[in-house]
């Protein structure tokens, strides 16, 4: 089950082609540019980039998207440090110390420390992914439909429980996402379901326009609203002229290295759980670094240790979140959910079978992940000042362009106006959800995991002659059912008690 020498060598040869190397470099650059643009983030970058991959080979496409994610995550940190406007919630922790450093004229120092911590954290988690995914997939291959159903059920409870302001609303939103995924042709009997006779719905609601609508168009609407309300763009602080403020000394790096290692370790372990996103990871790492620091009073006021802890955590999540995707075919976060769509477009079904059927592709992806980290480091090291200027591009220019890119991507994903209509509809739904203070992550997860759950449960029921006892009589499925109950208890009931205590 482990990748063999032949596959590794094949993957190595595949990656070192001009096209794939270019995909890595362009992906990193696109990610940084989009991530560093105020109001945009790595998830939007990926959503916009997916249509570009329709014409690439599977390896180039996946590598390109992963590179966009890496570049975009670091790009988000640039805005967090320079204007305290994080592209994504997890980058907010970066802003705690990054922004005070920038205000003190040490923006370049902060950006460089952030880059070092990001690349180390990211590389560490990628190495763990490479070492863990294949053995985990080998175990997963021995599982049948009942076990897969139980694992997906567990993932759903984790994801839903940890997103949104309440578990109840999270579940409702996830159910709604699941329901919309049921539209189309029934996966077992092949009959039309909930299509209202509309032929275009027979293939179901397409994922890419849905993701673009929820993730990118929603944000465009929100920014549009802010601008029409007269909210002005942020201004970057003036940089210091002292050369010491522009570099990270060896002493400073050594001082922050423990935070980087700690952050990478904590987050790689936790980030592998589906749904435990970068936000929790970044806060955990930051908190641990503060507790262990000799000068905790500096945290929040421009501590390099704090900045390194947040950044290593942000980026260590990138690799570890891919573990459930590669090993089990379960998306750990939104990025992984979009990647599932990209894999499927290229005829690859993510999950344990992928290691058997596409071993060479997986080997190529693993090698490319490490190369992308190197590219991310080199590109940013030499172009950091240039990318930092993107922060100054007015939103009034960025958002109309991104909107046109969204329209183009949605149109190309289906080849007709249906993609655009879906994008628009989900953009409006996403906007309303944000206005109602609801997270749309459970909706995307429900939309993607729902159909997989349905197929495995229906297969299980056929196997067991409609008896639910099959979940209890098989040890792995029983274990995951028990874990699901614990997770619901842990996050639902305990959170309710906590909220009640806070209300008092």
């Amino acid at each position: 089950m482990f990748l063999g020498t032949e596959q590794l060598l094949g993957g190595l040869v595949d990656v070192f082609t001009a096209g794939n190397l270019l995909a890595i470099v362009l992906g990193i650059i696109l990610g940084i540019v989009v991530g560093a643009a105020p109001g945009l983030n790595s998830i939007m970058a990926i959503a916009i980039a997916v249509p570009l991959t329709f014409y690439m080979s599977p390896l180039s496409a996946i590598v390109f998207l992963l590179a966009v994610n890496k570049g975009g995550t670091f790009g988000g940190s640039i805005t967090a440090i320079l204007i305290n406007t994080p592209g994504s919630p997890e980058s907010a922790v970066t802003g705690f110390d990054g922004y005070p450093l920038a205000q003190a004229g040490k923006a370049e120092k902060a950006l460089k420390m952030s880059l070092y911590a990001s690349v180390i954290g990211d590389t560490f988690s990628d190495l763990v992914l490479i070492l863990v995914a294949a053995p985990l997939a080998a175990v997963a291959l021995k599982m049948g439909p009942p076990e897969i159903t139980a694992v997906i059920f567990f993932s759903l409870t984790l994801v839903v429980a940890m997103t949104g302001r309440s578990m109840l609303t999270g579940l409702i939103i996830a159910c709604f996402g699941f329901l919309t995924a049921l539209i189309g042709t029934d996966p077992i009997e092949g009959t039309s379901r909930l299509t209202f006779g509309i032929q275009v719905l027979d293939e179901g609601i397409p994922l890419i326009p849905t993701a673009i609508g929820l993730l990118a168009v929603t944000e465009i609407f929100l920014q549009f609203e802010k601008k029409t309300a007269g909210i002005k763009d942020d201004i970057v602080a003036v940089a210091s002229t002292d050369p010491k403020d522009k570099t990270v000394s060896l002493k400073e790096f050594k001082g922050a290295s423990k935070s980087i290692v700690r952050g990478s370790l904590i987050v790689t372990a936790i980030g592998a759980l589906p749904g435990v996103g970068a936000i929790i990871a970044a806060f955990l790492s930051y908190g641990a670094a503060k507790r262990a620091s000799k000068s905790p009073e500096l945290f929040g006021k421009g501590s390099l240790e704090g900045l390194a802890a947040a950044e290593s955590a942000n980026n260590a999540v990138i690799g570890s979140n891919l573990i459930p995707l590669f090993a089990l075919g379960i998306p750990g976060n939104v990025v992984a959910a979009i990647l599932i769509g990209a894999f499927m477009i290229h005829g690859v079904i993510p999950g344990p079978m992928m290691f058997q059927e596409h071993g060479r592709l997986i080997a190529g992806i693993f090698i490319a992940l490490l190369l992308a980290n190197l590219a991310n480091f080199i590109i940013n090291l030499f172009s950091l000042k240039l990318f930092a200027k993107i922060v100054n591009v007015p939103k009034v220019i960025i958002f109309p362009i991104v909107f046109i890119l969204c329209i183009t991507g949605s149109y190309l994903s289906t080849g007709d106006l249906f993609g655009m209509v879906v994008m628009g509809l989900y953009g409006v739904i996403g906007y309303l959800m944000v206005k109602l203070d609801l997270s749309f992550l459970p909706m995307i997860i429900g939309f993607i995991l729902g159909p997989i759950f349905e197929v495995s449960l229906r297969q299980t029921m056929i196997l067991s002659d409609n008896s639910l006892m099959i979940f209890i009589t098989r040890p792995i499925s029983l274990a995951f059912i028990l874990l699901s109950v614990i997770s619901i208890w842990q996050f639902g009931v305990k959170r309710k008690r906590k909220q009640a205590a806070l209300a008092k």
Binding site: E225, V396, I407, Y411, Y431
Partner: protein, 154 residues
């Protein structure tokens, strides 16, 4: 917990009832191949769960509603923004169908930039012309994937 959740709960209760009574029975066909669960099982089950969760949401909010100050989600400006957003989106779909990508992109960019407060016409026209042209060049010319030309120009 707030009034928004209560309204959301009521909406989803109605949604699930309509789904269970009127939609699923008429929009699912089963030939009963191979035993197991029918195509209607999951829509019914999800709608049932959705309805039950929504009832819980309404009940839990009804109890606590009086103790909470309510946040205003939409004011008049918010509603007009929402209408503008819907108009832009669905206007774009219709526009693409009739006028094609290049013309509609120019119009969308100009309209959104104007609505976002930009008054520099030179900038609006530059972005409005250059951006669609570059995107068209990349997709339609380089990647050979046709973008809509519109029925008026085809």
């Amino acid at each position: 917990m707030n009034r928004i959740d209560a309204i959301l709960g009521i909406f989803f209760i109605l949604f699930s009832l309509i789904g269970l009574i009127f939609i699923v029975p008429h929009q699912t066909i089963s030939f009963g191949y191979g035993g197991g669960l029918s195509p209607a099982f999951f829509p019914n089950a999800i709608l049932g769960v959705l309805g039950a969760l929504s009832i819980l949401l309404v009940v839990s909010n009804f109890i606590k509603l009086r103790n909470n100050k309510q946040r205003r989600v939409f004011d008049i400006g918010g509603i007009s923004n929402f209408i503008r957003i819907c108009l832009i989106i669905f206007g774009s779909c219709l526009g693409l169908y009739y006028l094609g990508f290049l013309v509609v992109s120019l119009l969308i960019i100009s309209a959104t930039m104007l609505l976002m407060g930009e008054r520099n016409w030179r900038l609006i026209l530059t972005v409005g012309i250059v951006c669609p042209f570059v995107i068209y060049l990349v997709f339609a010319v380089v990647l050979k994937k046709p973008l809509p030309v519109g029925i008026l120009f085809s």
